[in-house]
């Protein structure tokens, strides 16, 4: 199976890249392996408790993608700086109690692993 990796650097709502990534991933998941690496501000995307009055919850969208098989990882350095701390234990596919299920904090080395194993890569920076 071919693999697509999507790299995001923006947080939710401020730009539409979380939503565009989601549409790309939804379509790709029907036939391909999809990886999403959350870098820089994108580590805010999986935060629990989002109640956007006028938008779709980015956290809900991404946990939905994880449920459908997308591998979603957040950069540990970026996450820790922004207050999302990786714990030893993984519960519901996540090692961060502030994150939605299925989304894990990992080292940046995981990005290079994802890239090296991918057939296509998409980056969506602001």
């Amino acid at each position: 199976m071919k693999t697509l990796t999507i790299v995001l650097t923006d947080g939710p709502y401020i730009s539409e890249y979380a939503e565009i990534a989601c549409k790309l991933a939804e379509n790709a998941l029907e036939r391909y392996q999809v990886n999403i690496f959350l870098y820089l501000d994108a580590v805010h995307i999986p935060k629990k408790g989002q109640i956007p009055s006028f938008f779709t919850s980015a956290g809900e969208l991404f946990t939905g993608l994880a449920k459908k098989g997308a591998v979603i990882r957040a950069c540990a350095r970026c996450a820790a700086a922004r207050g999302y701390i990786a714990e030893e234990e993984t519960v519901n596919g996540s090692n961060c109690k502030d994150y939605f299920p299925g989304i894990k904090i990992t080292s940046l080395y995981e990005l290079s692993e994802m890239l090296s194993k991918s057939d296509r890569v998409i980056s969506l920076p602001r």
Binding site: K2, L4, Y17, I20, N27, A28, Y32, R120, I122
Partner: protein
């Protein structure tokens, strides 16, 4: 698997950004390019971008509607923009770039 000899470009930035200009430079060099406009990239349609030999342009319907950009000639608006793009990127194109 045989890949057709074209490159695809997903552009989500509006005109006048250095990044979109870089994207268009690469597309012009490709000789056989498919430009996929989504998000603010669809504003390029107001600047008169259009399909030419060796240069196909696709635009995303929901982004056109949100931004009040009416139908344009010489541009393709697929029913499911993202499905077409993913298929094209994963199966058919030579190189893929996103800006």
């Amino acid at each position: 698997m045989k890949r057709e000899e074209y490159d695809i470009f997903l552009l989500t930035k509006p005109p006048f950004s250095p990044r979109s200009e870089l994207c268009l430079k690469l597309a012009a060099r490709s000789g056989n390019a498919r430009l996929y406009l989504a998000g603010d990239g669809v504003y390029y349609l107001l600047s008169g971008i259009e399909e030419l030999p060796g240069y196909k342009v696709y635009a995303c319907q929901e982004d056109l509607e949100a931004r009040a950009i009416g139908d344009r000639e010489k541009v393709t608006v697929p029913d499911n923009f993202y499905a077409v793009f993913i298929e094209d990127m994963m199966e058919h194109c030579k190189c893929a770039y996103t800006f």
